[in-house]
Symmetry: C2
Subunit: 416 residues, 2 copies
DNA sequence: ATTGTTTTTCTCGACAGTCGAGAAAATAAC
DNA sequence: GTTATTTTCTCGACTGTCGAGAAAAACAAT
């Protein structure tokens, strides 16, 4: 409860608002569309119940949406009870499509989803970190996306959104990657990609932000009544990612703070970003490696550490090797201290831990808890609820698709 | 830009939403009311321009508000130009009143404002920190507020809101002070105060949150177009306070993180909260004192340090005493490092520095900047814009009044 | 004094949206 | 074939916003 917060009046009134009552209709359209995302197929009455709109209004709204081509009636009889058979509405899958690309340090994962939210194609391409440049990455991605679209025989205009994610710092509005583990401060301008798919909106997100997005969406779908304040997603791996989703009044907003490079302690541990004392420099895979092997802390970090390396360290830690245990404990401490700072700034949100590093969670947990307990906030509110979710990638893709389709929905709503 | 953030769809649809088109009217009412808070007196046409509502709608809305008693026409001829004289609308001052109490460690400051937002009475009472208990504080406040209201010959029912602020951690919804410098973990239940003023809504806010509130409101009034992301208020004194206001789409929301007791470094410096390494333990007045006089860092902090003590240290620092300079530098470092963490979590917001500690800002500034520069975020985005504002108290009261009257407005809007 | 000019407010009819109630539709049961 | 049942759709009432023009209320000119 502590970190008090509330929000205030309109204030800047003449802001971008249109006519009066038509705004209302837009809201109703959005309501129906969003209900049809949570539950793929709904009858007239079910829509009325879920959205709170009167039955008459549902008729009007679904009529609009059918005319726009965004939804369609399923002609399945769906023979159930006795009376007039219900008409079932569903999003029209061919209406639009979303491309998702997960850019990770060793591979690129591509996915294509239809307007209904189901993945219709996906493939991966390995990535050569050493050889790549921002330009080569862009052209590789352009080709791969073209391929993805051709395989499903789609027209370029049928791509409504392209959503990219990477670890690192992102300028969401500008479609740029500002800082990334691989390219450092050489920024990548993804907006150039849009040339070939003019109908598409581009999203560039931090990867862990999407995890938080997907987790928050899931939580809201499962317990809609819960005004729960939100959640934190923490991704452990070569780098450390964090996403925060805050839920308020049925809406949620999500942000990706620059957690991995938040200052942790004034120590000598050199980070990939060139500074010292970042959380990542202790808790990232290369940080763990450095401590475990007692490499001097100011050694320039390895660009990439294979997971098997860390697993060896973990094995020896589990067998009792002191230095390996110490490395994981230090990593946990840095994470716990960092988390305690995040919690001081927000409320006491539950934490979802993902990423390849979760296999070592048992080794880090004591350190994490110790670090957390060092702050007044945690002492007053107790430890946050921590949940480990191993399958990060599917959360990332869920986040991609949800975010992209939400945008398409908004465009639909804007068309009257 | 980095810390990417966006917000999402409605989603939980059947939430507390009333009938359809009446919502619209409520919005229009709020628009007019809020315009009349930014500019005390506005004509029919001016209202139409500022709110974006059609002239006909303004007639309808002002009619409603007059009927409710919230606004009134000023019968001033306001003889200006040539044509039909404009009717001027203003908030009806007697419509409601707000009580504001600033609880500081050495005094209680009381204020009474009318619905127009002007202070009509104020006085202060000294506070004996050593002798007081939560109960005695409550009863003192009850009496003082009663006195305040009687002096202006108001009925209890004419008090629409009571807004309290303190340093420390606040449970805004519950009307409780969870942790305070004076009472520690002995919480104070202010909700008991409401007994005597049943028509009033109670607000309990962190003091620096109100500073951020007032500053954000001011900024929006001055440059409404600016979608500026928000601002941070930092209050320096015996304890350290922080408030964050984020402005998005004409709305702003404000929160008060637990900054003073955010973990800064794992050192031995004992904080008033009983833990070690809090920012306050280095940057609060008692922290500065402890370092300057080379008292062992784990000494139990003084409950209160007179400002003159710190001024003496500042004087000797300005005269070149090393240890005094060191103390301010350490304080600055802790603040800068802490701020860098806040900035990592939000965007690169400008910072407003207030509080009694601002007189020593010149001594702390180098340390602050050094601390800030230790994080990747600052390196990428540059130092935040820092502005010193000495008159903290008037910002606090402005925040109190604005917050309280906003709540009264919302109640008005709710009444049809 | 009367008439015209100007500026602002107010009124009126049109339009868009939502809602409740009941009509209409479409099926299963009898 | 008729009836019961369930769901969808239609209709009229209500609320709200808007644009246009009428009405109001002043000053200026004659």
């Amino acid at each position: 409860m502590p970190a008090a917060s509330y929000s205030s009046l309109p204030a800047s009134p003449a802001a971008a608002q249109r006519a009066g009552t038509e705004q209302l209709r837009r809201h109703s359209l959005a309501l129906v569309l969003s209900a049809l995302r949570e539950e793929a197929v709904l009858s007239h009455t079910a829509l009325s119940e879920r959205t709170g709109l009167a039955s008459a209004t549902v008729t009007a709204v679904t009529g609009d949406l059918e005319r726009l081509g965004a939804i369609e009636r399923q002609d399945q009889p769906a023979s159930g009870g006795r009376g007039r058979p219900r008409v079932l509405f569903a999003r029209r899958r061919r209406f639009s499509h979303a491309v998702a690309v997960q850019i990770s340090s060793d591979a690129l994962h591509y996915g294509l989803a239809d307007y209904g939210g189901t993945m219709i194609d996906r493939f991966s391409r390995p990535r050569d970190i050493a050889a790549g440049t921002p330009d080569s990455l862009l052209s590789d991605m352009g080709e791969a996306i073209a391929r993805l679209i051709q395989r499903s025989r789609l027209e370029p205009a049928e791509v409504g959104a392209i959503s990219l994610s990477s670890k690192g710092i992102v300028d969401a509005d500008g479609g740029r990657l500002v800082w990334s583990p691989v390219f450092g401060e050489r920024s990548v301008e993804f907006s150039a990609l849009l040339e070939h798919w003019p109908a598409a909106t581009l999203f560039v997100s931090n990867e862990t932000l999407l995890v938080a997005h997907a987790a928050a969406r899931k939580r809201m779908a499962e317990s809609p009544a819960e005004g729960g304040a939100g959640l934190i997603a923490l991704s452990l791996g070569h780098s450390i990612g964090l996403g925060i989703a805050r839920i308020e009044e049925g809406q949620f907003s999500v942000s990706a703070p620059n957690f991995g490079h938040m200052l942790n302690a004034v120590d000598d541990r050199l980070c990939r970003c060139g500074l010292r004392g970042c959380i990542e420099a202790t808790a990232g895979f290369y940080g763990i490696l450095r401590i475990a092997f007692q490499v001097p802390p100011n050694t320039i970090p390895a660009r990439f550490v294979p997971l098997t390396e860390i697993e060896k360290i973990a094995l020896s830690a589990r067998q009792g090797t002191r230095m390996a245990q110490h490395a994981f404990r230090q990593a946990g401490l840095a994470l716990g201290q960092g988390l305690s700072r995040v919690l001081s700034l927000h409320e006491n949100l539950p934490v979802i831990v993902t990423g390849p590093g979760t296999r070592f969670y048992d080794l880090m947990q004591p350190g994490i808890e110790e670090g957390l307990r060092q702050s007044l906030h945690v002492r007053l509110n107790g430890l946050p609820k921590m949940t480990v979710v191993t399958d990060e990638s599917s959360l990332v893709f869920a986040g991609h698709v949800d975010r992209a389709l939400t945008a398409v929905d908004q465009r639909v709503v804007g068309l009257r």
